[in-house]
């Protein structure tokens, strides 16, 4: 029952909020309660999973592989926990930043349904069910992105919608062929039966279909063009949750299928993934270097950071997968935080354009400090969380003798630091072009607290991971061991049937 709660709870609260349509005060309170409930459930779930390793739930008591199974191993559980943390911070942050029009037209219910889709994708053990959760997630993200109807938003939404629908069609085709090959849709059962179908070439072809489909969703080279075109258009709270969670669902799906199902031809598939990872890192960071808009720089950095996570998968050793998982945990927290800071900057000066910004450090030293924590962590400055994430991946790369990808990742780390320095110089350090544009942070004291609370909270998590890295590292290591030994997963889902 516990396993279904991360899905049922947002659904219940989402429906409840629709009953209070246009009553945005009620919606705010329900949304806050919903996110606290989700956070509690996620903490209980991860405590339980650490205890018993892998939890399964057969929906409607249809035994696997016939029914839909929900599975939570360490990796799924930690992803559910992080999405609850991000949902919680966004809920608080929206109270201070979201405009009433959006609040009246269903912003909060959509947020909960989006979180439901994300949690469903993390917890499902059925490949077709994964497709369904992707669609739930996509349709709510489509509406969240275009809600408000500004010109930028609609243009961004068109690119986002078209490419993501293309990816869904490819994903669906891949699922169909996989079913034709193995006659099952349960992921654990697929892992067992796919090698028995005795069609290794076909399996590799399908795996490439999945790589393209999930690659579009997780924005890897050369399929990422929808991301920098759309992520900087919605309000800060929406782009923060998109930046933190959505692409990482794609990465989660990639790691899941390429450690569980498509492992037979890892010589080819994982080399392809590694090459893609290198190009993703470089093109993402170079794209960021050419931009002069706060959120566009951050959007391009999502792409280059996705490269690091995929690099962990491509190297395909226990240490590398652990590094990838650690990187995802670190990245979601840091990237969401940076987008939240960009929202505060926009609230103060009314623009995201770095050329127009300035003097922020002089006027708001605290904000400067709160920006520096995630920014330096993103660039990988010790002792913040990003340093450990990069350190593990690079160590894994060196152990395997993959020097090219290690060199690329170090070089990209340097350029990331350059980008963060650029934001710091332009927005915080230099004198503003027009001093009169700078006003004090609008809103009452309680609104200011709501504005800064999520940023401080996420910043503290980043610092905690940085200074107290050992439990997080051990956790990532355990999760990676589970992923690389799929027999435990298969046994937990299917029992001892042979």
């Amino acid at each position: 029952m516990l396993l279904a709660l991360p899905i049922i709870s947002p659904l219940f609260f989402g429906i409840l909020m629709i009953l209070f349509w246009k009553n945005f005060r009620a919606n705010r309170i329900i949304n806050l309660i919903a996110s606290i409930v989700s956070l509690t459930i996620a903490i209980i779930l991860i405590a339980e999973v650490i205890d018993v390793r892998i939890l399964t739930l057969h929906m409607g008591n249809w035994q696997a592989p016939f029914g839909i199974t929900l599975v939570a191993d360490l990796f799924s559980a930690v992803m559910v926990l992080i999405s609850a943390v991000i949902g919680f911070t966004t809920a608080i942050y929206s109270l201070a930043t979201m405009d009433e029009d959006r609040e009246k037209f269903g912003f909060y219910p959509l947020l909960q349904i989006l979180l439901m889709g994300i949690n469903g994708a993390f917890l499902t053990g059925d490949i077709f069910n994964l497709y369904v959760w992707f669609e739930v997630m996509l349709i709510s993200s489509f509406v969240l992105l275009s809600l408000g109807g500004k010109r930028d938003q609609l243009e961004g939404a068109i690119k986002y919608v078209t490419l993501n629908l293309l990816s869904s069609a490819l994903f669906l085709a891949g699922v169909g062929i996989l079913y034709g090959l193995a006659g099952t849709l349960n992921m654990a059962d697929l892992a067992r039966k796919l090698p028995l179908s005795n069609q290794p070439e076909m399996t590799t072809v399908v795996s490439m279909l999945f790589l393209v489909a999930f690659g579009i969703k997780s924005a890897v080279f050369p399929l990422y063009f929808w991301l920098p075109a759309s992520y900087h258009t919605p309000p800060a709270a929406v782009s923060a949750i998109f930046a933190g969670l959505l692409t990482k669902v794609g990465v989660y799906a990639l790691i899941r299928v390429f450690t569980l199902i498509f492992t037979t031809d890892s010589e080819l598939t994982h080399t392809v993934i590694l090459v893609i990872a290198g190009f993703t890192m470089v093109t993402g960071v170079l794209g960021a270097a050419s931009q002069m808009d706060f959120r566009r720089i951050l959007s391009f950095h999502i792409i280059s950071q996705i490269g690091y996570m995929i690099m962990g998968l491509g190297l395909f050793s226990p240490l590398a997968i652990a590094g990838g998982i650690f990187y995802i945990i670190h990245h979601i927290i840091v990237k969401t935080n940076l987008f939240l800071v960009s929202g505060v900057v926009n609230k103060i000066s009314g623009t995201y354009d770095l050329k127009k910004l300035g003097s922020l450090y002089k006027l708001y030293p605290l904000l400067g400090l709160l920006f520096l924590v995630p920014a330096l962590s993103l660039a990988g400055i010790p002792p913040l969380s990003g340093f450990w994430a990069k350190f593990i991946l690079i160590k894994a790369g060196l152990e395997l003798g993959e020097f090219a990808i290690v060199a690329v990742s170090l070089f990209v780390g340097l350029l990331t630091l350059y980008s963060m320095t650029k934001i710091w110089n332009e927005a915080f350090w230099k004198d503003a072009v027009d001093e009169q544009d700078i006003i004090s942070i609008p809103g009452t004291l309680s609104q200011k607290i709501l504005l800064f609370l999520p940023i401080v909270f996420l910043g503290l998590i980043t610092i905690t991971i940085g200074f107290y890295v050992e439990p997080f590292w051990n956790f990532a290591n355990d999760a990676a061991n589970q992923l690389l030994n799929p027999e435990f997963y298969i046994k937990a889902v299917l029992g001892n049937v042979r």
Binding site: R151, V161, T162, L165, A169, L172, A173, G176, Y179, S230
Partner: protein, 115 residues
């Protein structure tokens, strides 16, 4: 039967991808619809087409042989419903974008990518 379906799926994929690369909004939507149909037919075909053997068990509980696999149809049904909803949203979005931006040419939509 399979042969005709395979040709049809190929044509639908080709037409869908071609239409998606056109600049007009309407053609892009038609392309998306084609791709959805192609994927559905693909599932139908790879799920093995068995004629004249409904997916029911006999009254005494024994399983007739051969029996058709009902699962691909169930998958397609789900996919059609999802595709229908998503395409309806896409049509409304494209119409709204047409009203706001004042053009139906995708090449004009460069505002979010400009430096």
């Amino acid at each position: 039967m399979e042969f005709i379906l395979i040709i049809l799926i190929g044509v639908l994929y080709t037409a869908g991808l071609y239409m998606i690369m056109r600049r007009s909004f309407v053609k892009v939507i038609i392309g998306l619809i084609f791709l959805g149909h192609a994927a559905n037919l693909l599932i139908f075909t790879v799920g093995r087409i068995t004629q004249g053997s409904p997916a029911f068990i006999n009254a005494d509980g024994s399983i007739p042989s051969p029996v058709a696999d009902p699962l691909p149809q169930a998958l397609i049904l789900t996919a059609i419903v999802i595709g229908f909803g998503v395409q309806a949203f896409a049509i409304v979005l494209f119409k709204r974008a047409y009203q706001t931006v004042g053009t139906d040419d995708l090449d004009e939509m460069k505002k979010t990518d400009e430096l």
